[in-house]
């Protein structure tokens, strides 16, 4: 695509897939392209004039800020924004868009799935401490027992 239309200034990847969660496609593509990448991004502010993009990564207790030179690659996480629902017009227009399909060859060896396993059910012996506000003393007894009071 870049050979035909020139390089992308910014390429965004989802941080990981929701299902298999490999955590590496974006990083490998960025490395192959020789471009910088930072993962787990929840805020982006590009400054094309300065040729940079500022990216925010949420970490426990705060935010880390990175400033990457363009062209760059970012792995983004849910929480970056709230996607808008597509309009009917947009949905109709999307049906006419050509979807570029490329074949990829799988490399032999490496990681392979043997089978999927359903995790053992959580033992569901819920102890009901009570109903409504009357349960408060039993809850506080539990907190005391757990040593968090």
């Amino acid at each position: 695509m870049e050979a035909a239309d020139g390089p992308f200034d910014l390429i965004l990847f989802g941080n990981e897939s929701a299902d298999s969660g490999g955590f590496q496609v974006g990083v490998r593509v960025a490395h192959a392209l020789g471009r910088p990448i930072v993962n787990s991004i929840k805020g982006i502010a590009a400054d094309p004039a300065a040729g940079t993009v500022r990216a925010q990564r949420q970490v426990d207790g705060g935010v880390e800020v990175y400033e990457l030179p363009l062209p760059a690659v970012l792995g983004v996480k849910e929480g970056l924004n709230l996607p808008r629902y597509p309009t009917m017009k947009g949905r109709l227009a999307s049906k006419k868009v050509d979807v570029l399909v490329m074949e990829a060859e799988a490399v032999a060896g490496g990681q392979a799935m043997v089978r999927l396993i359903r995790p053992p059910d959580v033992a569901s012996t819920t102890v009901v401490l009570g109903h409504g506000p009357d349960a408060a003393p039993a809850v506080v007894d539990l907190l005391d027992e757990l040593g968090v009071l």
């Binding site: 990981e16 969660g21 955590f23 590496q24 970490v59 880390e64 799935m113 569901s124 907190l143 968090v148």
Partner: protein, 315 residues
């Protein structure tokens, strides 16, 4: 004899707890083999205590703060230098990112978020769908790169001592482009990921203002408020408060989940909690049936009653 290299993740010298889980996993893989650890400027004492035999300290100006490219290059250099059979990283956001970068540099496969590894990491169980499904996988590679899903195993102290060796790395100056340049500290003290108590609220809370009693209960217990995706999608709380597959994974002593139905994506973020107490009007809600304890009732009356009871006992 199998040699294992563990990536020691830390934040400006403070070791990430997930690193100790990774060291424990390494020790369980081969009880009698050397377990090396590559640390990027941090103290080896805790690593040795958990079973690492040698800690290689990569000391470099470009490694003082986190930069995924700098760390990945350092790890790739360490793998190249020490030629371990297996490399293990903590399955955290940064651990997986650094390992993926090292894997790309060395053109090796990398299997993320394993819960168990066997046969010198030729076979493993790993998490799918954030932990709601498991996958048995195999790995065929000269050097096997894996990460350990955070909270999937408990770090254990074996009481050893690690020797510390300096590991000189020659880093490409270009890696500077992805080093942290600034920080915004949102909160000090206890955080959602480390809080001993998390008070969670879901759709049942009803509005942003209705989180005040949850805040009061969390404050009384030195904890934090978390929430479900329904809450952040409604704009009631920031995404930073979201507990779940795509939010924060918590592991408190007790998680008090109120007005939360317990969708699987939320559950996988909360399931490492040591105890779960659900407060819900619906006794059939997923969160209630999976919880250790439950109170059936309206969180709007139950939570203030709990806070009042705590205050009464303390006075």
């Amino acid at each position: 004899m199998t040699s294992i290299l563990v990536l020691a993740e830390h934040d400006r010298g403070v070791l990430a707890s997930a690193t100790l889980e990774a060291v424990t996993a390494a020790c369980s893989l081969v009880a009698t083999s050397p377990c090396w650890s590559v640390a990027i400027t941090t103290s080896p004492a805790e690593l040795g205590d958990h079973g690492a035999t040698t800690v290689y300290v990569a000391d470099h100006e470009l490694l003082a703060d986190f930069g995924p490219e700098a760390w990945a290059q350092a790890l790739a250099l360490a793998i190249h230098e020490f030629e371990p059979d297996v490399v293990i990283a903590p399955g955290t956001s940064k651990g997986n990112e650094v390992m993926a970068g090292a894997a790309a540099r060395l053109d090796l496969p990398f299997v993320a978020n394993c819960t168990t590894i066997e046969d010198d990491a030729a076979t493993m169980i790993r998490v799918q769908w954030g932990g709601s499904l498991l996958e048995e996988a195999s790995l065929d590679a000269d050097i096997k790169l894996v990460s350990i899903a955070h909270h999937s195993i408990e770090a254990s102290v074996v009481g050893g001592e690690a020797s510390s060796e300096r590991f000189d790395v020659d880093l490409d100056g270009a890696v500077r482009r992805t080093i942290v340049v600034d920080r915004e500290v949102a909160e000090t003290g206890v955080t959602l990921a480390t809080a001993p108590v998390v008070v969670g609220g879901g759709r049942g809370v009803g509005s942003p203002d209705a989180f005040a009693p949850l805040e009061a209960l969390a404050a009384a217990l030195g904890g934090r408020v978390g929430c479900s995706r329904a809450v952040t999608n409604n704009g009631w709380r920031p995404h930073a408060d979201q507990v779940g597959q795509t939010g924060t994974r918590i592991a408190p002593e007790i998680y008090i989940a109120s007005g939360i139905s317990g969708a699987i994506q939320h559950w996988v973020g909360a399931m490492a909690s040591k105890t779960i107490l659900a407060i819900n009007t619906d006794p059939e809600a997923n969160m209630v049936t999976k919880a250790d304890y439950a109170v059936i009732g309206d969180l709007h009356t139950v939570i203030p009653a709990i806070t009042a009871e705590i205050e009464r006992r303390r006075s």
